[in-house]
């Protein structure tokens, strides 16, 4: 799809990129310290969950990362710490429960405590005691992990929240070890982000202008462009997810899996197979390091999204 967009001067975005962008923005401006799943599962002796219970969106979080049967490096299950809304009660040994609107305040105070910045005493925060206890445990842990899902933050607050987490990670690693583990990713949004980075040098959304690839989260936001009708045509690709194109005024070329219902007939409809059912592929895990192979489950003659993109490319007139 990137090749096709490059050829016609298009914009590429992924429906999941708005959620990844807060993490990406902080990584780009400040950097951070992270780890992959197996590292956290085998090593973490304290896990701080920020923003809400990962359970509903990531059902295997507890089984895989907290309660795994054979950890390599720790004798006991990790201590679970929590800073988040009180509506989502998490089975944690130490919890700072706040209203969702107060999450950033609590994180800000925790970051100050963790980084050893002077704070006015006594602390004026209702969860002050719990936050102090959490800061102390993070500092005492051999290898702590901070886990978050950007979706848990209120709209517009995610980037600042992740920035506070990044500050804690940088501060804690001066003396001990602590790693971040951003959860999230569906429809292989992580893989799309990785491929865009290596093929263009930029994360999504990326505009493949005549002069250069350009990353601009506002200007090239796919959802904004669709809503505003700011494009000549929308090429909607859905093979891993079952999303139909959003309603809008743009003419649609739909490259979608067989099982997707299209409420409105698109201008052009191309049906493709589903990765891991009809054909092979690879899907990136949330930790960005590991690509898992998708192997076909049945013999299939259905084309892939790449086949469709190549066919369209081949049928375009020669560039001048």
């Amino acid at each position: 799809m990137l090749a096709l967009a490059d050829r016609v001067g298009g914009i590429v975005d992924h429906s999941f990129s708005p959620l990844l962008l807060a993490n990406m923005a902080v990584a780009r401006t400040s950097g951070w310290v992270t780890a992959t799943f197996a590292e956290v599962a085998n090593r973490a002796d304290a896990i701080l969950v920020v923003g809400g219970d990962p359970g509903p969106r990531f059902p295997r979080f507890r089984e895989r990362l907290v309660a795994n049967a054979h950890p390599l490096y720790r004798q006991h299950p990790p201590e679970v710490l929590y800073v988040g809304p009180r509506e989502e009660v998490l089975d944690a040994s130490c919890a700072a429960l706040v209203a969702r609107e107060e999450l950033l305040d609590a994180l800000g105070l925790l970051a100050m405590l963790v980084c050893g910045m002077p704070a006015k005493r006594p602390l004026q925060h209702p969860a002050a005691l719990a936050l102090e206890a959490i800061a102390a445990r993070l500092a005492a842990a051999h290898y702590a992990a901070i886990v978050w899902d950007v979706a848990a933050f209120l709209p517009g607050e995610a980037e600042y929240g992740v920035e506070l987490i990044s500050a804690m990670l940088r501060g804690l690693n001066a003396k001990t070890r602590c790693v971040g583990l951003p959860l999230g990713g569906s429809g292989n949004g992580i893989g799309a982000m990785q491929a865009a980075l290596w093929q263009t040098g930029w994360p999504l959304p990326v505009g493949l202008t005549a002069d250069a690839p350009v990353h601009d989260p506002q200007l090239f936001s796919g959802s904004r462009r669709i809503a505003a009708g700011e494009a000549d045509v929308l090429v909607w690709v859905a093979a891993l997810t079952s999303d139909a194109p959003p309603p809008g005024a743009l003419p649609v070329i739909a490259i979608v899996a067989d099982d997707i219902d299209l409420p409105e007939p698109p201008a052009v409809e191309i049906r493709v197979g589903i990765p891991a059912i009809d054909h092979a592929g690879a899907i990136f895990r949330a930790d960005t390091v590991i690509a898992l192979p998708l192997r076909p489950a049945r013999p299939s003659a259905r084309p892939t999204v790449a086949d469709a993109a190549k066919a369209i490319l081949a049928s375009l007139p020669e560039a001048s």
Binding site: A3, D6, R7, M24, A27, R28, T29, S30, G31, W32, V33, T34, A35, T36, F37, A38, E39, N42, R43, R64, A69, H70, P71, L72, Y73, H142, Y143, N173, T176, R177, V179, Q194, A195, L197, W198, Q199, T200, G201, W202, P203, L208, T209, A210, D211, A212, P213, V214, H215, A280, A282, F284, T288, V289, I290, A291, L292, P293, R295, E318, A319
Partner: protein
């Protein structure tokens, strides 16, 4: 189709040290003997008086894998400043100089006469992703070295008393599973120790938990690589990178190989003394002296180039130490999957900074003091010492003493006094450049049909237009061919065929898989069946495997 290249002066040191005016005949992507049956060529290309060399081979350049994407994330300015749109019929758009996008990487290498590039730091768990990315690097052939020596399985088996044979089987299994060409060890044991909170690990210091000292890791892996017959020796990034006085560790690392073949990478970063009032000095002469009398040792330099770049390394201990020099001030560290790590730190080398200036000089000292061009390779450890695009400037520095003196005059005065460079008169010959950038890496990597232009060789070649400006000459060869296809003319890419993935696949006793399977099932987040790359995955991704045989006369 038969192509005849006439008029070129061929520099092919495998055959002779001089230039030989002879025609080159090419058929089906290979150099052939001139047809004796008098068949006329289908086309004739007149090379004028161009200098013809085999395609260049980069033995150590970080072109793909998760760390490069992290570098791209941190390098917005680099990607804004160096961007290009799509061009011609086949060239995709792209961006970046220090961390170029994948297509840009292939185009730029090819336009400079390079036809094969080796990614030296593939973390086992990142192998599939790294290969998918390398498949999007066009034109050049690629290969990757799998990073071992901080992987939990190896450390625990060494700690648990595994014998050499078991380790050999594991290394072979790992090479096949990750489609690797060679094996690299980075800061042996140190990346693992960093996860236990240790900020350094000395060569004879027992590592955490399993008590295995780095010396033993290096010795065992060097022996495994030799006994398996893997052509390229163990590729070693020594412990204590960047630390003043680390020459002691570097020399001791050569000892640790116990006479087995060993390659020391980016040796410049490991040739530091701790003398002088600043506590930082050149120890290049000490390393060069040792290399000169140790035929089992080869090095690549990791030359520093002044200007901004990105440093990307598996060595989290070193990168975490260096985070205080980050410019701009941001950095990313990552602990990876109980088998590795990476640290990415933006950096700017300044000629008016004493340490940076001396690093620059130390690299050049190594180039000029190591006598045998078959055992020293031209690298900047791209992008850690500087972008690979600076190779033409480096060639000029090696071939012209005048240019060297000119540059030397501009660096920090104390660094100028602290280097031997002033008195080093050696100038590389074209034949020596051809050895260092072609014939020698091909021989070291076991690429028998590369690095030379004898009949049977791949028709990978570059034709340079002789001129006084050596940098311009090496930056934009008049013609570059890959597999007999004209891919670049005068620095512009004109065709983008896909290269292959070079791999070495040693045999092993399948019994070892029982224990590995148990380890994966109990502890890893990826299943034993899922971990290995399947045979056809790379072909589907567009970079089919080109397997190279193991040496049968491996030391048994």
């Amino acid at each position: 189709m038969i192509t005849r290249l006439t008029g070129g002066r061929i520099i092919d040191p495998v055959r002779s040290r001089g230039e030989s005016p002879r025609d080159l005949w090419i058929e089906d992507g290979r150099v052939i003997e001139p047809p004796v049956d008098g068949r006329p060529p289908d086309r004739v290309l007149d090379l004028g008086d161009g200098l013809v060399m085999a395609g260049a081979i980069d033995i150590h350049s970080h072109i793909a894998g998760g760390k490069v994407n992290l570098g791209r994330i941190l390098a917005a300015a680099d990607h804004r400043a160096h961007a290009h749109g799509r061009s011609g019929k086949t060239c995709r758009s792209g961006s970046g100089l220090a961390t170029p996008s994948s297509y840009t990487t292939g185009y730029r290498y090819a336009s400079m006469g390079y036809t094969a590039v080796f990614e030296p730091a593939m973390v086992p768990s990142n192998a599939r992703a790294a290969h998918l990315e390398m498949a999007d690097v066009p034109i050049v052939d690629k290969g990757a070295y799998v990073m071992l020596g901080n992987d939990e399985y190896l450390l625990r088996r060494l700690g648990g008393g595994a014998g050499q044979a078991e380790i050999n089987d594991y290394v072979a299994w790992m090479m096949r599973s990750t489609a690797a060409h060679a094996v690299k060890v980075v800061n042996a044991g140190g990346i693992s120790a960093f996860k236990f909170g240790k900020r350094g690990l000395a060569l004879d210091e027992p590592g955490p938990l399993h008590g295995v000292p780095p010396r033993r890791i290096i010795a065992t892996l060097a022996r495994a690589v030799a006994e398996l017959g893997v052509p390229h020796p163990l590729h070693v990034h020594c412990n204590d990178l960047g630390v003043p006085g680390n020459i002691a560790t570097t020399l001791a690392t050569i000892d640790a190989a116990e006479g087995q073949p060993i390659h020391l990478t980016h040796a410049q970063f490991h040739s530091y003394g701790a003398e002088g009032k600043r506590g930082f000095s050149s120890a290049a002469a000490l390393l060069a002296e040792r290399v000169n009398r140790s035929p089992n040792v080869s090095i690549d330099v990791g030359q520093v180039v002044f200007g901004p770049t990105m440093t990307e390394s598996g060595d989290t201990q070193a990168q975490f130490r260096n985070r205080r020099f980050a410019d701009p001030d941001k950095w990313i560290m990552m602990d990876i999957e109980c088998d590795g790590g990476c640290g990415v730190v933006p950096f700017r080398y300044r000629d008016r900074n004493f340490v940076n200036a001396l690093q620059w000089a130390i690299g050049l000292e190594l180039f000029l003091l190591v006598e045998d061009p078959w055992r020293i390779f031209l690298t900047t450890d791209h992008p850690n010492g500087g972008p690979f695009a600076s190779y033409p400037q480096l060639v000029r520095l090696l071939m012209s003493r005048d240019y060297r003196q000119e540059c030397l005059a501009a660096i920090h005065p104390a660094a100028r006094k602290a280097t031997l460079l002033e008195g080093l008169t050696r100038e590389y010959t074209l034949a020596e450049i051809a050895i260092m950038t072609r014939a020698a890496p091909a021989r070291s990597l076991g690429l028998e049909d590369r690095g030379h232009l004898q009949p049977g060789a791949a028709a990978d070649l570059a034709v340079y237009r002789p001129q006084d400006d050596l940098e311009a000459m090496f930056r934009a060869p008049a013609l570059v061919m890959k597999g007999g296809v004209e891919v670049a003319r005068d620095g512009a890419v004109i065709a983008t065929p896909q290269g292959t993935t070079q791999v070495v696949r040693p045999e092993y006793d399948r019994l070892v898989e029982r224990r590995i399977r148990g380890f994966f099932d109990d502890h890893m987040s990826v299943g034993f069946e899922t971990f290995p790359l399947a045979e056809d995955e790379l072909a589907e991704a567009g970079a089919p495997l080109e397997p190279r045989p193991c040496r049968t006369s491996g030391a048994k």
